[in-house]
Homo-oligomer: 322 residues x 2
């Protein structure tokens, strides 16, 4: 019984230490201090800058901010896998570009088709089916899809410090949103399980939708057209369309998030903007100004000029993945 | 002291009666019983049809369901008032239709321009300005705008039984949404105060938006184009776009809500659909199959065929307005 008590006591100590530090994967550097100071400033009842819970909106980019985005956006892996899975039903793809190159594994050939070619791949895998069929396809795929370098499930390539940050903000009555250039319906099937963010708090790039009768059943069909490109200038637009009020805190990692951070910080009262800077070539990846994926150039300059928080992944995080 | 105690006691009795009946403005008829039975069925822990709180999504039409819509949609009053207010800055409107007719109070002349004319009026009052300017205009207008027949504030022309229903559902961990053909940005400035529905839970018809720099300040500008016509087939589309999951309960009053009710009830598991039928010419208005505003024809037939709840306003509600 004595040992049981001791173990129990040790467990309680650990639990209470965890309760005292809501961000255990963050080193005690300036980034962590800035986050905690901001949350304290807007939630303490006697604070001059108190913000009522209803207005505590926080928006997060996804790729490179909540989960990894190297060596390619994970949604691109979905497109490639899906084209391969659908190929038997599309014999014409054997000779049609960019499908032919993709099926041969010739990525240079795929890229030769430029943006128009990529759009063809996206439309072939993201339109024509019902929203429920698409959701089922994504759910099945993401249950087993693995990262080409780490071999982990993609849903395990999420940043533990950011999971803690999401939970910390929600514990302080923030409503946490994802605002991503990724497809809205690609994310919604798994964001609640992985991030604790329900589908209605996911904003993303989206295509046209059409309500219709198919085989005597009402369905919503995904159309091959863009309704919102939720990147750069599209992010404040997505926020306005879906949320209808300006966030007080925003989190990103690339120039694609710059307008969201500008829009967030341009509001009156206390505001918080944070960039995750990928500086850890060993535990994750190191990239910024020259990267084709997640380029952070203008954003880095603006963050420094305006005093936004820049997370130095190597210095600030003592753990990367859960 | 004795009197004080008695008053206090009486007060407690009233309070406890109110607590016992969450829907005091509803008579004890089939409609009320159906609502309570459904909520009990999906929330009782030992119910076979238990639905977890995260999935308790309820969607409400606005015009004619939460507030009145006769003799004209209230948003049309906004358009007319706004055109009059803007007229001094638009001398050309004196000769341009449909503006000229509207400014002379000649509604027949306005209607002669058909839908194209109405679109001109809407665009002149709903596009070109920033979202913040538009919001300010709506907020100022709605603070004093009165109903032409009752003389009450428009925000007092809301249905007390529906306010109770919204609160009752929320008390049972439902997330309540508005899904209206009305303009999303016309509703958002006041729905939280009037209905307890925050801006991010309002879905409505919407125009294009553009993020841009104006006078060195970043703004979002409203564009003269339709992004979503949130009526009929547009309602399930708006629900999918904004919420991303199917509601388990939906509330409407017209054929414009039929697709929302179909979409809601076509899902698996327990579902609830309700039509408010305007049957009370004395306390409100009586209209259905032949009405130009809020026409309820096909919906009424389908509701009866499928056993949806149809509120007979005259019989089922003991109070209309707060």
């Amino acid at each position: 019984m004595k040992i049981v008590s001791l173990v129990l006591y040790a467990g309680l100590l650990v639990a209470s230490a965890a309760a005292a530090d809501p961000l255990p994967s963050w080193n005690d550097t300036g980034s962590k201090q800035a986050i905690i100071a901001f949350v304290d400033r807007v939630t303490r009842a006697d604070s001059e800058d108190y913000v009522p819970p209803a207005e505590r909106i926080a928006t997060f980019d996804n790729d490179g901010t909540l989960w990894a985005e190297q060596p390619v956006y994970f949604q691109a892996m979905y497109v490639a896998d899906r084209i391969k899975a659908l190929a038997p039903r599309h014999p014409e793809w054997k000779t049609q570009e960019p499908f032919a190159s993709l099926l041969k594994g010739d990525m240079k050939g795929v890229m030769a088709g430029g943006e128009a070619g990529l759009v063809k791949l996206v439309m072939a895998t993201h339109a024509g089916m019902t929203t429920e069929e698409f959701e089922r396809g994504v759910s099945e795929w993401i249950a087993t899809a693995k990262h080409p370098k780490s071999g982990r499930l993609l849903t395990e390539m999420v940043y533990q410090p950011m999971l803690e940050l999401l939970a910390y903000l929600r514990a302080n009555d923030f409503k946490t949103y994802i605002v991503s250039g990724g497809g809205i319906e690609f994310m919604r099937p798994w964001t609640e399980r992985v991030y604790g963010v329900p589908p209605e708090q996911v904003v993303g790039s989206s295509g046209g939708l059409k309500y219709e009768l198919r085989d005597g059943k009402t369905v919503i069909v995904k159309l091959p057209e863009i309704a919102l490109n939720d990147d750069k200038e599209g992010k404040p637009v997505g926020i306005q369309r879906h949320i209808g009020r300006r966030p007080i805190a925003a989190f990103g990692n690339s120039d694609g998030d710059l307008q969201m951070l500008q829009w967030t910080t341009a509001g009156a009262g206390p505001r918080f903007a944070l960039y995750v800077h990928h500086t850890d070539a060993e535990r994750e990846y190191a990239y910024d100004r020259e990267s084709h994926i997640g380029k952070l150039d203008q954003g880095l300059d603006e963050a420094r000029a305006r005093g936004w928080t820049v997370v130095d992944m190597k210095q600030d995080w003592n753990r990367i993945y859960p």
